[in-house]
């Protein structure tokens, strides 16, 4: 079923236009990689701070306020380039199971991150003081780090395994 949707999609004018624009995939993938760098490093600074081994100079709420906006901007750029890349080569993505696992995990970590962010905004002082910081903050740091790492690996490996599903 997804294969049929993929073959239908690759015959649409938009897809055909992107397929014949030879510079599109290299440029889009470059933006995609740069955005991964921004997102992953932002998450790293927030999560290491939460786990207690980032530099203690800045408060948790300050670190979140600095890095989170860049995470969301990077995620938006990743979504746009990702969707366009998928429209350009839909069958390749849709027939590869790890593509779908990656999408699912992205939704999960985005929801977890949004929830965590609203809690920090609502209870900044509580999160800033180590003594009162909820244990869930550490859990979030570990889980979101693991999710982002798996997401990046899945994304990279789509390129290596898709041909096996043809």
């Amino acid at each position: 079923m997804v294969r049929e949707f993929g073959t239908w999609l690759q015959d649409t004018p938009l897809s055909l236009g992107l397929q014949s624009t030879l510079w599109f995939v290299p440029v889009s993938q470059s933006i995609h990689i740069l955005s991964i760098a921004v997102l992953f490093t932002s998450a790293m600074f927030i999560n290491t701070r939460l786990l207690g081994f980032g530099a203690g100079g800045r408060s948790v709420s300050d670190v979140v306020a600095t890095h989170l906006p860049w995470m969301w901007r990077a995620l938006a750029a990743l979504a746009i380039t990702g969707i366009l890349q998928t429209i350009t080569e839909p069958v390749r993505q849709f027939i590869t199971p790890i593509y779908w696992y990656k999408m699912l995990l992205i939704v999960v970590v985005a929801v977890l991150t949004a929830r965590f962010a609203s809690q920090v905004r609502a209870h900044a002082a509580q999160y800033d003081a180590a003594a009162t910081r909820p244990a869930s903050a550490r859990t979030f740091a570990l889980v979101s780090s693991a999710l982002w790492i798996v997401i990046v690996i899945l994304g990279r490996f789509i390129g290596y395994v898709w041909a096996n599903y043809l």
């Binding site: 470059s30 740069l34 760098a37 992953f40 600074f45 980032g54 600095t66």
Partner: protein, 166 residues
Amino acid sequence: MSTPDILISLQNTAFFSAIRGGRPGTEWWFPIVETAHVFSLAVVFGSIALVDLRLLGISATRTPMSKLSEEVLPWTWRAWVVAAIFGSMLFISKADTYWNNFETRMKFLFMALAGLNMVVFQLGAYKGVASWDRSTPPAAARLAGGVSLACWILVVVFGRWIGFKT
């Protein structure tokens, strides 16, 4: 200049043959080393971008420049060393291909320029950071930030293009 003999010799050793998947059962070595390279380069770019955006007055403007540098740059260095180790493994495994590749040379050129820019900045504008730590950085500092960001973007873009051309 043709590929140096030492690199050819290393390329043909058992270890580097395995990295490029040239021995039975080693097909996944290259993808794994490459993925490790991607994670570490992501942190290099993400962290240096943070410092550059601070110099350009775009991000983390509440944080004193010296404090941000102190916190972030160690990550940049550690990640660079790791990226260089994995990158060297990838390079040597197919030294003859990469040595003669235009995109590879451009990547290293822009990395050298980024490094030179960093040295000039550290010995110049950064020496007087105490006077602009909490205010708008001077023109020389903003220029350094812009040059650095542009160079590292080009390093990543040329790095991706190597994958398309080899």
